[in-house]
Symmetry: C2
Subunit: 333 residues, 2 copies
């Protein structure tokens, strides 16, 4: 059996762990529930136990090359600690990397989870053929990552790619970050729920009201299902979502002019409902996108042998496994 | 005498040319008026004559290392032609680099003028001590450039750093690019003039109306002078300017998280009138800036020996010479 690395995706309720070979085969993955509220010591214990359990069966014949761990927060890459995270209260004083290295006797790398997902998509997913890309992860908020020359671009303090707090509406909805009108107030799962609740309260969305009242698990996904069925209220929400995401994407394209933008995260599954509006906004708002839009350029191309430079905007393809692949990949870079 | 390079800044009415040594001494600079409307052939002729005139006196003792030319438009770096430029109609078919190389028998590099200015500031100006920075050139519009690891970051089609067309007001003032509410519709010389004309027309700015009627050269600079004297109308214009620029800067910081942002161009001289509002918006709208704001961090720093990571936003210092230094520097990279 071959050598392998471990990729770890630390989520709010689940800890997902995979063993991945250097050429990108996922040997096995496991998922264990964990209670982040019980603190760093508890979670690190669970994590080390699970990594040891998974790797013990591959260790006999292959070497553990290390583990890369995606953390839902800001990571201090030098010290291997969690700098700040709304999701991980009390972790900032805990020597996460050092403690895991001590227990597992392997090379451990911590990284922000959005960055790890992007690295997975770059290695084996939608962006495997490009070296310069950005990824937007649409979940409760918007996670972001920029990859340049195949490597994560961290910026001065590891915060590059903070796309969710780009201003879309200068006097818009207040955001927890202190700003108003941030992109993630309009194009995320929590934004879909906010818009649905506002429309239900104002009486303009009877179908949404009915669904919310009858379904205890009413969610952004429920709103998407109604949009697909043609409900005007649900469609309006995803139209607003697509408009905001299109403005954000146009801004990002105007600043970065990359080869590819990958959109992932749970809410990316509502692609059909928001993507047409998003692309329309991008064409109207980014001269760079308009000049490199595959739809536009392919139709216009006078010389079919000349390969035009295109800006590709596409969905992520690895789903939640991106975090496992990306985490494992960290140990090879 | 030492070897030298030539830096050329091709503007709308003037062609500025400097001879610069490899260690950054400006030996001499000249400025010749040129009529861009007479076409590429005419301008390239003028340019070659002037470069030869200037370099002939230094050629006796030093070697001409090459010339870097800043062009007000999109440059195709591979072919050495002007890809698109609103300012240079009819140039796109002309082999600019090839023609100048043939006449001067020296290495010629074409580059977008905003990029050349930024490279000058990086080499010898405000950003000489940092490797990762962006520059905004506030003129008729907003020029932009991103420098990473000391080199110009071009992006897929050479358009990275197109900050002027980032959306500030989604339903705002229409822009020539096809978008609405672009940053350069609110934070440029032409934006100042538009706002002044609107306020004069509405009757809410009597002092501006008086100045515009009496001064045939009424400009963004005149509005600045009135703002400094305390005129409410003029102050309001630069407040709006600072707000839009602050939103743009917050967006750029959230995306790029660089060490330094340099603001240059003619309108940067109105710094006192717009900068306070700009910084206020940046603190409110960028969590990254707030966490690395020199004012904020220095006051809060508990440990004076720990060097905090700061985001510096500052004025350009080389003025119009930045284009000469940057052009010369192109030949050394």
């Amino acid at each position: 059996m071959p050598d392998f690395s471990i990729g770890v995706d630390l989520g709010g309720t689940n800890l997902r762990i995979g063993a991945v070979t250097p050429d990108g085969r996922l040997l096995e993955k496991i998922s264990v529930s964990t209670k982040i509220s019980l603190g760093a010591d508890h979670v690190v214990n669970e994590m080390c136990d699970a990594i040891q359990r998974l790797s013990s069966q591959y260790k006999k014949s292959g070497k553990l090359l290390g583990a890369g761990i995606g953390i839902p927060g800001m990571v201090d890459l030098e010290t291997g600690t969690v700098a700040t995270s709304a999701n991980l209260p009390g972790w900032s004083e805990y020597p996460v990397r050092q403690e895991i290295e001590r227990r597992l006797r392997a090379r451990i790398i911590l990284e922000n989870d959005a960055n790890v997902h992007a690295l997975g998509e770059k290695w084996l997913g939608a962006a495997r053929d490009v070296d310069n890309m950005a990824m937007l992860t649409l979940g409760t908020g918007i996670g972001g990552c920029i990859i340049l020359d195949g490597k994560i671009f961290h910026g001065l303090t590891g915060m590059a790619g903070e796309f969710g707090h780009v201003t879309i509406e200068p006097e818009g909805v207040p955001c927890g970050c202190g700003n108003r009108g941030c992109a993630e107030r309009y194009a995320s799962a929590s934004a879909v729920m906010r818009m649905a609740q506002e429309m239900i309260a104002s009486g303009e969305a009877p179908e949404l009201a009915k669904a919310a009242a009858s379904d205890p698990e009413f969610s952004a996904k429920s709103v998407y299902n109604l949009a697909v069925q043609g409900d005007p209220g649900a469609r309006k929400i995803y139209h607003r979502f697509g408009r905001a995401l299109g403005i954000l994407m146009a801004d990002i394209v105007n600043v970065l002019n990359l080869e590819m933008y990958v959109i992932g995260g749970g809410v990316a599954s509502a692609w059909d409902a928001f993507a047409p509006t998003m692309f329309q906004e991008m064409r109207e708002r980014s001269p760079i996108y308009l000049a490199t839009d595959p739809e536009n350029v392919r139709n216009k191309s006078a010389n079919p042998t000349h390969k035009p430079r295109l800006t590709i905007v596409t969905r992520a393809i690895l789903g939640s496994d991106a975090g496992l692949y990306g985490g494992a990949r960290l140990t090879a870079l």
